[in-house]
Structure formats: structure tokens, C-alpha cells
């Protein structure tokens, strides 16, 4: 049995880079979109604020799989073929969805940085943009860190949806292992059926938990140092 387990591990670890790729690109896109959205919402005035709010509400409510299908079956086929088609059909929806969540995270971090900081910066003669860049952003970064890392973990988990359109990431491989074992008649107990998924879940956990814990604790330490308690 241990041979089987280590064999599954070996196979599934091969799928891990794909999962990570999808996550990094999708989450990265989310950050690139989310950060300006957050700043726009806080400093951009009433109309812009409302628009961003609407954007956030929309992309937080739509299930990721629905977006994936929209891109894969309708929006992207005229433009791309496989492999780009399937990869982009996951990366773009993750980017859009994540940008909505990240925008929220950055926004509350920006708002938590005392408004007095902006006043202090302006009184030195800095422009709004300079204050944002040199004063607000560095502090906001640490305040946002725990929530941001949490969001990263969420998107990593969401890449499991990519299995529905055939991308060879963790979930797909686990499913494939289970299906082929079934076909080969190698299943003797429910445990056998479940094993590939169990191992996949262990890998997912290893990808999310340590990073989450370490970075959010680092962020909390820095938070305290900067004088923000809790």
C-alpha cells in the first residue's frame, strides 16, 4: 500500500507545477487589477467609487466555473486555440474574480492607514500620488498581508476547477488516477477510490497552509511594530 501511496504522490507532484502556474498568473492578474481599483475606490471620488463597488459585487458573486465556461465556450475560441484556450479560460476568470476580492482587501488596508498620514505627507509638499506611493502603500502592504495571503490560498484552491476543461493540474490528475484504477479493476475498497484525492488534498494543504501561516504572522509582527494593534 505504501508503494501505491508514494507512487500517487510522485504522479501528483508532477501536476503541481501546473496548479502553481495557474495560481500565480491568475492571482498576479488579480493583484495588478485589484490594487489600482482599491486606490481608485478610496481616492477617486464618488462616481468612480460606485463603479468599483459594482465591479466588486459582480465578480464576487459569479461562481468561478461559470466564468470559466463563458470564456472557454464563447469568449475565447474565436481568438485562441489550445493550449492557450484552456489556460487563459482559467487564468482570466481567476484574475477577474481575485481582483474583486483583492480590491476589497487593499481597500480596507488603505483605510486603516491613518488619514493623518495623508495630511502629514501633503503638508510636507508632496503630491497626493507621492504620498500614496511613499507613505500609504508601504504601510498598507503589511496591513493587507494576512488577508492577501488568504486570498492567494483561495485562488490556489479554485484552480481545481480547471479540471472541468481538461487542464492537467492536481485535481484532474487525481481524478484520472481514480478513473484508471477503476477501469483496471484495481479498486477493492472505498479507501482505494478516495486515496488519490486524499493525497491531492495533502498536497493542496502543503501548498496553502505553511505559506499562509508564515506570511500572515510576519505581517502581524510588522503591523504591531508600526503601531497598529490587532
Amino acid at each position: 500500500m505504501w508503494d501505491k501511496i508514494s507512487h500517487y504522490f510522485y504522479l501528483l507532484l508532477q501536476a503541481t507545477p501546473t496548479t502553481l502556474e495557474l495560481t500565480i498568473f491568475g492571482f498576479g492578474l488579480g493583484a495588478v487589477l485589484g490594487l489600482p481599483l482599491a486606490f481608485a475606490r478610496v481616492y477617486g471620488g464618488k462616481v468612480l467609487s460606485r463603479i468599483v463597488d459594482g465591479y466588486e459585487k459582480i465578480f464576487r458573486s459569479i461562481p468561478l466555473i461559470v466564468l470559466i465556461f463563458m470564456f472557454y465556450f464563447a469568449l475565447l475560441p474565436p481568438l485562441f486555440d489550445d493550449p492557450f484556450l484552456s489556460y487563459l479560460s482559467v487564468i482570466l476568470p481567476i484574475g477577474l474574480t481575485s481582483s474583486a476580492f483583492q480590491s476589497q482587501i487593499f481597500r480596507s488596508a488603505i483605510e486603516a492607514v491613518s488619514g493623518q498620514q495623508m495630511i502629514a505627507g501633503l503638508s510636507l509638499g508632496m503630491t497626493k500620488l507621492q504620498v500614496m506611493r511613499h507613505v500609504i502603500f508601504p504601510q498598507m502592504f503589511f496591513l493587507a498581508l494576512p488577508g492577501w495571503v488568504n486570498e492567494y490560498a483561495n485562488q490556489l484552491k479554485d484552480t481545481s476547477w480547471a479540471y472541468t476543461i481538461g487542464i492537467p493540474e492536481l485535481m484532474r490528475w487525481a481524478d484520472y488516477i481514480r478513473a484508471s484504477e477503476q477501469k483496471a479493476g484495481m479498486i477493492t475498497s472505498p479507501f482505494d477510490l478516495v486515496l488519490p484525492y486524499l493525497i491531492a488534498s495533502i498536497i493542496y494543504f502543503a501548498l496553502t497552509y505553511p505559506v499562509s501561516k508564515a506570511l500572515s504572522e510576519w505581517g502581524m509582527k510588522k503591523k504591531k511594530l508600526m503601531g497598529y494593534s490587532r
Partner: protein, 213 residues
């Protein structure tokens, strides 16, 4: 219009999705409280187990959890609907327990000391001081969970439960429609429903929150 032909089917699927979410939320509520109480008062053995459970569930995809539950129990005759709401319940319980825990922990030690100083015992303190406040403090975060659970509920699609996504997938070829239209409609429905639920819970919170906060 073609819309009216398939729309009822879509709504049937939506109803199933919400049904799953409601059951999952309720299960998660009970499980969530059990988990917090174990974590806070469970002692050296139960407390770490509860914590490990919560961290593991939160660190793994719901899809994987669903497959583990489904394939683990299929031999014992579980049907896919049950597997789906069990997964939602188990998953939501872990997240809800976190919100309840944050609610409990934000009640300062000071109030607990004051309660002990007038002679209240632990059970009385939990019942009269901690719970009434923790529930109200946790409400905004919990409302988030409640409103968004239907969105996560579409996992059920993966094991062929007749939820809104399964219906949508079937509708596209059956009525020869553009995927964009049908999935777009699904997206729209989610946005409307979730916004409505959020709004309602928001109003509830405003009524119920501790005055002065």
C-alpha cells in the same frame, strides 16, 4: 421568446442550488459552534483536533473534499445530493467556526473578569456574556458566508446534481443556444440573488447590532 422556454428549467436548477446551500449553511452553523467550543474549552486533546480540522478544511479545495466524501460513501449507497450538502456542511462549518471564534475573541478579557468578580460561573458567563455578543459581532462576516455559499454550492455540478450549472450545460445544446447567453444568464442570476441576500442580512445586522458600536 426563447428565454421563456428555458428559463423555468434554469430556475429549477437555481432552487436546487439554494436548497443545497441552505442545508449546508444550517449544518455548518451547528458544526461551527461545536468546533469553537471545542477549540476554546476542549482541553489538550479535543482543542488541537478541532483546530487541525478547521485548518485542513480551509486549506483544501471544496471540490476535492466533495470527491472524497462522494467516492468514500458511494459504496454505502449515498446519493449525490446528500454527498453535496454534506460537503457544504462540513466545509461551511470550518469557516463559520472561524467567524464565531473571532467574535468570541473580540470580547475583551475585562468583561469576563468582571463577570467572574460578581460570582458567575463559566457556564453562566458563556450563556449571558459571551454568546449574545459573539453572535452579533460575528454577524457581518457570517452574513458573507451565508450570502456566498450558493456560489460555492455549484460544486455539486461535479457529481451531476441537477443544480443550476448542470441545467445550464444541458440547456445549451438542447435549445441550440449560445453558451454566452445561457452562462451569462446564470451569472446574472447569481449576482442578483447574492446581492439581495446580502442586502437583507445587512438590514438584519443594523437592527440587531450592539448599540454604540
Amino acid at each position: 421568446m426563447l428565454l421563456f422556454d428555458y428559463f423555468p428549467e434554469l430556475l429549477k436548477g437555481l432552487a436546487t442550488t439554494f436548497e443545497l446551500a441552505a442545508i449546508g449553511l444550517a449544518m455548518g452553523f451547528v458544526l461551527g459552534w461545536i468546533l469553537v467550543l471545542l477549540r476554546k474549552y476542549g482541553g489538550k486533546v479535543l482543542s488541537p483536533i478541532a483546530t487541525a480540522y478547521v485548518e485542513f478544511i480551509r486549506g483544501t479545495p471544496m471540490l476535492v473534499q466533495l470527491f472524497i466524501i462522494y467516492f468514500g460513501l458511494v459504496e454505502y449507497g449515498i446519493d449525490n445530493f446528500t454527498a453535496a450538502f454534506l460537503t457544504l456542511g462540513i466545509n461551511s462549518g470550518a469557516y463559520q467556526s472561524e467567524y464565531f471564534r473571532q467574535g468570541i475573541e473580540s470580547i475583551g478579557q475585562g468583561q469576563i473578569i468582571a463577570a467572574r468578580a460578581i460570582g458567575m460561573n463559566r457556564l453562566q458567563i458563556i450563556r449571558h456574556i459571551i454568546l449574545p455578543q459573539a453572535i452579533r459581532i460575528a454577524l457581518p462576516a457570517w452574513s458573507n458566508e451565508a450570502a456566498y455559499l450558493p456560489k460555492y454550492g455549484v460544486v455539486a455540478f461535479a457529481i451531476a446534481v441537477q443544480d443550476i450549472l448542470s441545467k445550464a450545460k444541458w440547456i445549451v445544446p438542447t435549445w441550440s443556444l449560445s453558451p454566452l447567453e445561457v452562462y451569462g444568464m446564470v451569472a446574472l442570476l447569481f449576482v442578483i440573488c447574492i446581492s439581495a441576500i446580502s442586502k437583507i442580512l445587512d438590514i438584519v445586522y443594523k437592527r440587531v447590532k450592539i448599540p454604540g458600536f
